[in-house]
C-alpha cells in the first residue's frame, strides 16, 4: 500500500468522522493501518480475531496525557497532547513483551519499562453493544487498577513517570463486527466534491515521514507522521490539526503554501516545474512529544498532489 494513499485515506476518514476533534490524539490510530479504501462500499461482515484492548491511564505531569495500551502483540506507551479539540499530537513507544489482557510487561529500550498486573474492581463488568457489531453483549469492559511498576523517562527528560498503581480497563471485543460503515460511506461521498489533497513523504530505510493536507467542503485537515525503530523499540509520532491554518494554491496548482499553525511551525512550499519536477521546501516543522522541532520539508521528500473539481 502506498504511503500517500494511506495518508490521504486517513485524512479522508478523519473528515468523514465529522470533525477533527473527534479524532483527537486520544483516539489517534496506533498506526496508519488499516487504511480506508477511498472507493469501497459497505463491506461484508468481518470476523476479526477475538481480541482485547487493555488501557491504563497515568497521571502525568505537565500538559501530556499518558496511557499504556495493547495493540496486537505490542505494548504501547502513548504520550499525547491536545488543544481544545482542534489539534492533537501523540507519540507511541511500541515494544514487544507480554501483552495479555491482565498482564503487561515490556521494556521500552533505555526509556523505561512496565511490569503490571490487573486487579478488577468490585464494580460489575460493563457489557456493551456496539453499533457495528452483531448480536447482544458484543464487548465487555472490566475496570480496575494495574499494580506493579511503570518507569519511563522520555527523550531529553521531556517527561518522567514513576508509578506503581494506576487505573485501567480491559476491553474484550466480540468476534463478529462490521467494518466502519459510516466512515467509509461518507468518505466516498465526500470525494465526489472538489478537494485538494497533498502528501509529502520521505523514507530512509525503515524510517519514514509523511506530511499530508486535505481540503474538502471548506474543511481542512493536516496530518504528520513519523515512524522509526530504535533497536527493538518502535516509535510512531503522529499529529492531526483540524480547521486551522492556511492552505493556498495558485490557480494552476503549481505553487502551494502550507501553514498549518500549532503544533506545526513555519511554512511548507510546494512548487511544480513545467518539466514535471517538484520541490518541497520551507521551514515547516512540528512538535511531536519527545521530538520537538521535527523538520517536515527537504529535497528527499516525494510529493503527491491531487485535486478534484
Amino acid at each position: 500500500m502506498s504511503r500517500r494513499a494511506l495518508v490521504l485515506g486517513l485524512l479522508c476518514s478523519i473528515l468523514a468522522l465529522g470533525t477533527a476533534s473527534t479524532a483527537s490524539a486520544q483516539e489517534l490510530p496506533l498506526s496508519l493501518l488499516p487504511p480506508i479504501s477511498l472507493d469501497t462500499e459497505v463491506g461484508p461482515p468481518l470476523t476479526p480475531e477475538r481480541g482485547f484492548r487493555t488501557l491504563l491511564t497515568v497521571d502525568a505531569p505537565g500538559a501530556y496525557d499518558v496511557n499504556v495500551v495493547t495493540d496486537g502483540s505490542a505494548v504501547a506507551l502513548r504520550v499525547s497532547r491536545t488543544s481544545g479539540g482542534k489539534w492533537g499530537t501523540a507519540t507511541y513507544y511500541l515494544a514487544r513483551g507480554v501483552a495479555q489482557p491482565e498482564r503487561l510487561r515490556a521494556t521500552f529500550g533505555k526509556l523505561g519499562k512496565i511490569s503490571m498486573r490487573f486487579r478488577e474492581s468490585r464494580h460489575r463488568p460493563w457489557f456493551g453493544k456496539r453499533r457495528d457489531c452483531r448480536g447482544k453483549s458484543r464487548f465487555v469492559v472490566k475496570r480496575g487498577v494495574f499494580v506493579g511498576n511503570l518507569r519511563f523517562r522520555g527523550e531529553d527528560d521531556y517527561l518522567t513517570i514513576r508509578t506503581h498503581r494506576v487505573k485501567g480497563s480491559i476491553l474484550s471485543v466480540a468476534p463478529k463486527c462490521l467494518p466502519g460503515n459510516r466512515g467509509r460511506a461518507r468518505s466516498s461521498a465526500a470525494l465526489e466534491d472538489s478537494f485538494t489533497g497533498f502528501v509529502a513523504s520521505d523514507r530512509d530505510g525503515v524510517e519514514s515521514t509523511a506530511f499530508g493536507a486535505l481540503s474538502i467542503r471548506e474543511r481542512l485537515v493536516y496530518l504528520a507522521q513519523h515512524e522509526e525503530n530504535r533497536g527493538k523499540l518502535g516509535i510512531l509520532h503522529m499529529a492531526i490539526v483540524g480547521d486551522r491554518g492556511e492552505l493556498d494554491f495558485n490557480e494552476s496548482i503549481t505553487v502551494g503554501k502550507f501553514s498549518p499553525g500549532g503544533p506545526f511551525h513555519g511554512t511548507g512550499l510546494y512548487r511544480a516545474a513545467p518539466d514535471g519536477s517538484t520541490t518541497w521546501t520551507g521551514n515547516l516543522s512540528i512538535d511531536f512529544p519527545g521530538a520537538p522541532g521535527f523538520p517536515l520539508t527537504g529535497p528527499a521528500y516525494e510529493t503527491f498532489l491531487e485535486a478534484g473539481f
Binding site: 500500500m1 502506498s2 504511503r3 500517500r4 494513499a5 496506533l30 498506526s31 493501518l33 488499516p34 487504511p35 476479526p48 480475531e49 495493540d71 496486537g72 502483540s73 505490542a74 511500541l94 515494544a95 514487544r96 513523504s201 523514507r203 530512509d204 530505510g205 525503515v206 519514514s208 515512524e227 522509526e228 525503530n229 527493538k232 518502535g234 516509535i235 510512531l236 516525494e302
Partner: protein, 293 residues
C-alpha cells in the same frame, strides 16, 4: 541451526492440504506460457501490510535480470502458478529446498492461503523452475500438497509468519524436483543481520515476470515498525525494489541457503522489502513438508 537434507527436523503434526492429483503432462499442457503470463501476482492483503505497486514510475529497483536462470544456483528458483477459479490465475515465486522427498518448494504463505484456517487456494498449482520468456527448461512440476506456518492461519495472516511450503510431483521427464534442478539448504534461528541474495520473478511494472531477477548481497537494515504490532518474530527489511510476483522468492545466504522469502513492501517510495524471520515456525513447516510421501 542450518539444516541439510532431512537431518534434525523437528517433530511435526499433520497439517496442509492435498491438492487434486494432476499429472506432469496435464500440468505441462495447462501451464502454457500464455497462462503463466496471464497470472496476476498474489499479494499480501493491504489491511495487513503494504502491498501493491501504485506508481511503477517511482520505483528505483536494484532487481537485476539473471543472465541465465537455468544455470546452477539459479535454477532452483522459479515461478509458482495457481488457478484461482473465477478469479483467474495467480503467481508467486518459490525456491526448491533439500529434502528426503526431493520435492519441497518454499514460498510465501499468502501465495497459498489467504490467512485463515480454511481459506486455501486449492486449484491447479505448479512450480516452474528457471522459467524464462516462455521457456520451461526443466518442465512443470504439479503441486501435490501445500501448507503454511500454522501461526499464519491462526493469527489471521500475521505477516511475521508469511512462509509457505509446497510439495510437487514429478515433471514430464519423470524427474523429481531436486533431481532436476538441485536444491537450496534451509536455515532458521540465525541472527537477523545477514547479507541476502534476493531472487524472484516480479511481474508488475517495471518488470514483466518473464525472467528471474536478483538483488545481490542486500544487507539487513532492520524491521518494519508495524511488525511489532503483529504476532510473531519481527520481520526483516532489505532494500531491493521488488514488485508483485516476487512474493515468496528466496532470500539466500552464503549463496546456497534459503533464510527468508519476500513478503511485502511499500512500493511507491524508496521502500525496503520485507520478509518474515525464519524461526521455529518455519522449522516446523519444513518438518511437515519433508515428511510428505
Amino acid at each position: 541451526m542450518t539444516i541439510v537434507g532431512a537431518v534434525a527436523v523437528p517433530s511435526a503434526s499433520a497439517s496442509g492440504v492435498w491438492l487434486e492429483p494432476s499429472s506432469a503432462e496435464q500440468a505441462n499442457d495447462f501451464w502454457t506460457p500464455a497462462r503463466i503470463q496471464m497470472a496476476k501476482p498474489l499479494e499480501l492483503r493491504s489491511d495487513r501490510a503494504g502491498a501493491s505497486a501504485a506508481d511503477p514510475a517511482a520505483i528505483d529497483s536494484d532487481f537485476e535480470q539473471v543472465p541465465d536462470p537455468a544455470a546452477p544456483g539459479f535454477r532452483i528458483h522459479g515461478v509458482i502458478v495457481l488457478s484461482l477459479g473465477i478469479f483467474g490465475y495467480g503467481r508467486c515465486s518459490g525456491t526448491a529446498v533439500r529434502s528426503a522427498n526431493k520435492s519441497v518448494v518454499i514460498t510465501a504463505a499468502h501465495c497459498l492461503n489467504s490467512g485463515s484456517i480454511s481459506r486455501w487456494f486449492p486449484g491447479e498449482a505448479a512450480f516452474v523452475p528457471a522459467y524464462r520468456y516462455g521457456q520451461r527448461p526443466f518442465g512443470v512440476f504439479p503441486a501435490r500438497w501445500i501448507d503454511t506456518t500454522k501461526r499464519w492461519r491462526t493469527t489471521d495472516g500475521s505477516p511475521n509468519y508469511d512462509v509457505g511450503a509446497m510439495v510437487v510431483g514429478r515433471n514430464e521427464a519423470g524427474e523429481l524436483l531436486t533431481e532436476a534442478v538441485g536444491a537450496a539448504k534451509i536455515a532458521w534461528g540465525l541472527k537477523r543481520a545477514q547479507s541476502f541474495d534476493v531472487h524472484g520473478y516480479p511481474a508488475e511494472d517495471p518488470f514483466d515476470g518473464e525472467t528471474q531477477r536478483l538483488c545481490d548481497g542486500t544487507q539487513y537494515i532492520g524491521h518494519d515498525p508495524h511488525s511489532l504490532i503483529f504476532p510473531g518474530p519481527l520481520n526483516l527489511a532489505v532494500v531491493c525494489g521488488v514488485t508483485g510476483g516476487a512474493s515468496g522468492g528466496g532470500w539466500m545466504i552464503r549463496g546456497d541457503t534459503i533464510n527468508g522469502v519476500t513478503s511485502y513492501g511499500y512500493f511507491d517510495e524508496e521502500s525496503p522489502d520485507y520478509g518474515p524471520y525464519f524461526g521455529k515456525e518455519v522449522a516446523r513447516l519444513y518438518g511437515r513438508a519433508v515428511r510428505v510421501k
